[in-house]
Subunit: 541 residues, 2 copies
């Protein structure tokens, strides 16, 4: 550790209180550069002694002076400090420093209004420029992805973390100020018994110390029966909503998908909400549109939102920052003030796609077909071409391409379609999916049977479901309603129970939070949106 | 579904907008009972038509009238509706209803100022009183724990969920308005390579479909190497803090502990924060005390905080609600306005305990001994007896009872103690633990070696660490500093990297969020604090 001291020591500056020296004001770059505050702190501290703790982004050494760009993670902008050659002698990119000086106005015409005339600088952690991977130059996304723990130190990735933080905070405001109020934020469990989507791509859990069982030996489970990492909190949200009315969560979800696309991660955050007493799908669509627009409006009015909209992009070859930011601003404008997002049924969407093939020369790898569902290429065509880049709700998909718990469309004959929707965004396509839930017990049990989710009861079961069944049998003196003899709802009995007593029509949705952040920030790969991404074959750090 | 209709139908009331009928105002119980709002809505809607959607908590049928207690999850209070015997004929506890009526002032002297004179009531989901487990009577915690999905429907558990929601929201305010500002909320990964505490009690992950390997066959890992569920986000927070300065997270953590105590769960939320440029342990203690007190102050000023402080307890035999709530209020007072929390070193604490044994007749199962650490019984004695129920910080524990990453105490000779602390609360004991981190690379590597965390390098490793090592070797042309030949930092190399370039003194802490909620709410078992608790042998629903 090397120290230069001029007029006073920085060592007495304590984190939790102002220094005993009245002349020493610890500030952050965002404050001095007027990024974060409504007050004009740049002027307020003119000619004052100020102290900053941060990092050298770059240093330029000349004969009589040296210039250092200082950053402390509070803004993408760096703050210029002027130093003597002596003070700058051992500075290098990445070094952690504590710096004090006089905050001086620059002559007019300079890029920044003020600069720091250094009185004291102390290197508290140096960085060998020969080995430090983060230099002031363009680093490819591929390169940075290999060092996620250091990637945060690039200006844009640092900004992205602050943007996520702001999104989380503003989400709380959005739900709190919703006109209908009363959205309770909940924290549902991540260790679950069920695979909500029925996709089977879950992670299973075992205690580290558990030995592999010998062939034929029964596994002794930590939780008595196999448990998984949740793929969606929806089922639990329904339990909360049945009492609390409107609930939401921002909760991690997991998929063990062996896919290699920038659109999927194995661990990601999902914003999920559930609304009790929801009779109509359209009310859910209203809610989703309201939430996203309100979030975008709030973010737009924050310093970090403005930074995202004007940030220098990483200097990727061929990328023009001005063009890029103009496109990004147009993307936000659609959310802030664009027209209501169109709503079409799945059936209509297929017709339009087929028409596009027949009459407008569109071509797809997969021919659009009602029974096959929508492929990514179809979604892209719908939102980008048919609706010119405006978000689109597609509703009422065929039951057979959707999970068991969805309620039938009001108009559905024979349960052919369900009261559900996907919200498609330009470029990223599906960002929200939701539905009304089947809230009638007999209809739910019927569906579970069709989906093969009802088991034959085992004689000596040690699982919860059996215990509970036993208990309910003892108390109620009856079999579970609507089941055939010997049938067992297994680990989903609690879910059916929600329909057994006081079940109101309800529905909800899940929004891919990382996808939305990437969309708003103009970052196309989730592997660059999430600081420490986990996906097939990769979980660095 | 049974319907009674009087003056108008409720079926046209839509979730997302006001009804077309101007006279129909959908409200929540908390609004009409003046719990949630500063406005006097009880009076504002006097003699107006109002609509509620909720549940029957109880119904009392008399000859000429019937009285129903209505609840909708917005407050512990229920709202009284008066009905005709016809209207009430099929009502039972738990039924989901939509009810409309005139909001009438009651004559003076009645318990509530207003009641609902029902015009229309519609049962949207009935509840068979013979089988519905939640009745208006005392249910033991043991009983309710067996039906977590329905337990939420008891007034107190419903309140507890709203209290957690308020805690989450107010935490965001606390960090945002902290005088030093700039706390960034982050979402660190839950799938990790390392066991932060070195306790070995982690859950491992595998994709559900992965077959068990044949004996002798190598396991093919989804992420190339074994992965665990995080036991603490600290290591990742340090990476964030190195750039962003001050960071925090409210994030799930997991422990595969086979313990059977109400103080531990296998899945719980931890509030963790990390502060860069923190030189002194005392600054962390200041921060922790500030955060908890500020949170309590803010909660105290909310309707739900007031409800927690005055809620009727569940009617447990022998529990006097008035006494209980008075004790709970005293508990809050210590946080709101009590004296500064005392700070003693671990060494002093051991001396005081030994003195208590020798001179004051205290007796413990485990004799207090400097080298053995503090047992729960010791912590209880310190906070309850020695400090009369005021929270106590115990600092500077022996290195050997703490993890490798802690920095030595400033006064420590030979690294005997580390700059760490536990915050002990009355009754629940440890609620926060934190430390300064060893931020110097050579000292960290030295400690890792002592803790057995440095491996001998394998020739053909496919793990990240080796790839990265290779890459850094290629770029920097040198071996990793301070390692002996053949040594490998393995999956912790990224953590050491944080010290390699621009490392400032820093520290942080983790707070057991569920423990704190339980403490503030007066709920002693975590199994009753968390709606869907997971612990050894239990993960219902």
């Amino acid at each position: 550790m090397r120290t230069w001291r001029r007029s006073f020591s920085t060592s007495i500056i304590r984190y939790s209180q102002s220094s005993a020296l009245g002349s020493c004001n610890r500030l952050r770059c965002a404050e001095l550069l007027n990024v974060s505050s409504e007050k004009d702190k740049a002027r307020e501290f003119e000619n004052e002694n100020v102290t900053l703790k941060g990092f050298i982004r770059s240093v330029r050494k000349q004969k009589r002076f040296a210039f250092a760009e200082i950053s402390d993670g509070s803004t993408v902008q760096s703050l210029q400090a002027i130093l003597t050659p002596d003070q700058a002698a051992d500075l290098s990119t990445g070094a952690a420093i504590e710096i004090s000086g006089i905050w001086k106005a620059c002559p007019p015409g300079k890029e920044q209004t003020h600069e720091l005339q250094t009185t004291t600088i102390q290197v508290v952690g140096d960085a060998d420029p020969e080995t430090y991977p983060i230099q002031k130059k363009y680093h490819s996304s591929d390169f940075l992805r290999q060092i996620p723990h250091l990637r945060l130190r690039t200006p844009f990735n640092s900004l992205l973390s602050r943007f996520r933080s702001e999104c989380i905070y503003q989400l709380g405001q959005v739900f709190r100020s919703h006109p209908h109020g009363g959205f309770t934020q909940v924290q549902p469990p991540l260790i679950t018994s069920s695979d909500c989507e029925g996709a089977g791509e879950t992670f299973t859990l075992s205690p580290e110390s558990s030995a592999l069982p010998a062939p034929g030996e029964e596994v002794e489970h930590f939780f008595r029966s196999p448990k998984y990492l949740t793929v969606s909190s929806q089922l639990h949200l329904e339990a909360y909503a049945a009492e609390l009315g409107n609930v939401w969560t921002l909760s991690p979800t997991f998929r063990a998908e062996k896919s290699d696309t920038p659109r999927h991660l194995s661990e990601f955050y999902m914003l999920e909400a559930e609304v009790n007493f929801a009779n109509e799908l359209s009310s859910l669509l209203d809610l989703v549109e309201y939430l996203i627009r309100d979030l975008a409006r709030r973010l737009h009015d924050t310093p970090v939102g403005q930074e995202i909209l004007s940030a220098k992009r990483s200097g990727e070859p061929g990328l023009d920052t001005v063009d890029f930011n103009e496109a990004l601003r147009r993307r936000w404008d659609v959310l802030l003030s664009g027209p209501e997002w169109p709503r079409i049924t799945y059936t209509r969407a297929i017709e339009m796609l087929q028409d596009a093939v027949t009459n407008h020369g569109a071509s797809f790898t997969h021919q659009p077909s009602w029974s096959e569902g929508l492929q990514l290429e179809h979604e892209k065509y719908i939102v980008d071409t048919l609706f010119h880049g405006v978000p689109v709700f597609v509703t009422d998909y065929p039951q057979k391409v959707k999970p068991f718990y969805m309620a039938p469309s009001p108009s559905a004959e024979g349960g052919a379609t369900v009261a559900c929707f996907d919200l498609l965004f330009p470029e990223i396509c599906e960002v929200v999916g939701g539905s009304l839930r089947e809230h009638r017990l007999p209809a739910l049990i019927d569906k579970m049977r069709k989906y093969g989710l009802i088991k034959q009861r085992r004689r000596h079961s040690t699982q919860y479901s059996a215990t509970s069944q036993q208990q309910l049998d003892d108390e109620g003196g009856s079999e579970y309603p609507y089941l055939e003899p010997g049938e067992d709802l297994g680990h989903l009995q609690w879910y059916a129970d929600l329909r057994r007593w006081g079940s109101a029509p309800h529905g909800g949705f899940g929004l891919g939070f990382d996808r939305l952040i990437g969309y708003l920030a103009g970052v196309s790969s989730l592997r660059d949106v999430v600081p420490f991404p986990r996906y097939f074959k990769r979980a660095d750090c």
